[in-house]
Amino acid sequence: MTAAQPLPTLEITALEKRFGETQVLRSIDLKVQNGELVFVIGPSGSGKSTMLRCCNRLEEPTSGAIHVSGKPMLGIPRKELDRMRLQVGMVFQGFFLYPHLTALKNVTLAQRKALKRPRAEAEARALEMLDKVGLKHKADAMPSELSGGQQQRVAIARALALDPKVMLFDEPTSALDPELVGSVLKVMRDLREGGMTMIVVSHEMQFAREAADRVVFMDGGVIVEEGPPEEIFGNPKSDRLKAFLSRVSGEAA
């Protein structure tokens, strides 16, 4: 007899997504345990971003189920969805900072309006998070005054300040100049060491190798293969993964 498995922080069950005639995701099953970093790789158009966006319902799944700490994300009233979304932090490829607000206000807005935290508490928390991403000194800067890497770190702080149970990263470094990628990856590495549960869609294979607990390879809307990074990168089983890896390493070389 083994002990009952702990409740997964994020559980995706039989997820399907169709856009009209096109089936983007089919029967996706994925469990992410507390403190785990799951890395999702795959060619573009493989559905990995769509899967991520389904997790906090920026895309509406066609069918299936998603649970965060055992609570359903689907089939719940809108008010409840807003509350659930607080538990799922999201970081976008395009940062999407609010350009009319300072870095600090970007981080306090949802704390105050959605979590109803008092101003002082929200600001203290925001400064703490900005400090965590190394940008406390930029609290009063407008987004237009920040580099892409700095904007992305503020966006991470914005999500973290809401105390999410899981953080989703949708190609967080793809829009960045190469020299700025490192600062964002460093923040993500720190987060992992702090025990944050994370799902990362990205092309930073080196980062996956070092930091991921598990790597998921998606192609054509299905999960083709998953396993620890050394297995996935060192001993790929499916032909599709082999082809993908050789193509990616070819590009890198």
Binding site: F92, Y98, L109, A114, L162
Partner: protein
């Protein structure tokens, strides 16, 4: 030359007409304050409906906007002022002007707000919703502030249009600036009061027109 000065810039007549015209200018200012406020509120509400995801809300809003942009405010005003008594509703000129302007200005302001909202990238809404803000919170704190800032020049030039448009209230005998000036013209058989009214409009609107030109140039350069 003398006849021109006498016909258009007769100082004596202008002096006589001054009290009447100032009174008219004051009515114009009050009218502007009321109709601009009404138009902004109506326009914002319409724009939010027109930007809604639900076609049930969106479609009527669009039809309203297009209808009242298509009908000249003058005929709208006459229809309300001269038409409503036929079904037993008599409205004072000021109220008739307010209703006509509410319908017309809301449509124009709505178009401006709507284009501002439409220009905000989708990611802004997504980011806001992902942090747990409700749709109306996201609209109020993230989308609208950006949208309004972006369309400020258009809002300002619409305000100028509305101030000029209040001159049509003279048609329903509301004693605003143009009506007063035209009365003074009729009494004195001289057009100088009209020229003076033009001067008062200029005093009010020229600075705004300059600001708008500056805005336009600034915008196109920053693009």
């Amino acid at each position: 030359m003398d006849t021109i000065i006498d016909a258009f810039f007769n100082i004596d007549i202008m002096r006589q007409a001054t009290p009447l015209l100032l009174k008219g200018a004051w009515v114009t200012l009050q009218l502007c304050a009321v109709v601009i406020l009404l138009g902004l509120c109506g326009g914002l509400a319409l724009a939010l409906l027109a930007s809604s995801r639900s076609a049930l809300l969106r479609l009527p809003a669009f039809v309203f906007i297009d209808i009242f942009r298509a009908i000249p405010p003058l005929i709208l005003l006459i229809l309300i002022y001269a038409g409503l008594p036929f079904v037993g509703v008599r409205v004072p000129p000021f109220v008739a002007v307010c209703i006509a302007f509410l319908l017309n200005n809301s449509a124009y302001f709505a178009e401006i707000f709507r284009s501002g909202i439409k220009a905000i990238p989708r990611g802004q809404m997504e980011a806001a919703r992902a942090t747990g803000l409700s749709p109306s919170q996201a609209q109020a704190w993230v989308i609208l502030p950006q949208a309004i800032r972006n369309v400020l020049p258009d809002l300002l030039s619409n305000v100028v249009e509305i101030v000029k448009l209040t001159s049509i209230a003279s048609v329903v005998s509301l004693s605003e600036l143009l009506y007063s000036a035209n009365m003074a013209r009729a009494v004195t058989y001289n057009s100088s009061p009209l020229v003076m009214a033009a001067g008062l409009y200029l005093l009010l609107l020229w600075p705004l027109v300059r600001v708008i030109s500056r805005f336009q140039r600034g915008l196109s350069i920053s693009h």
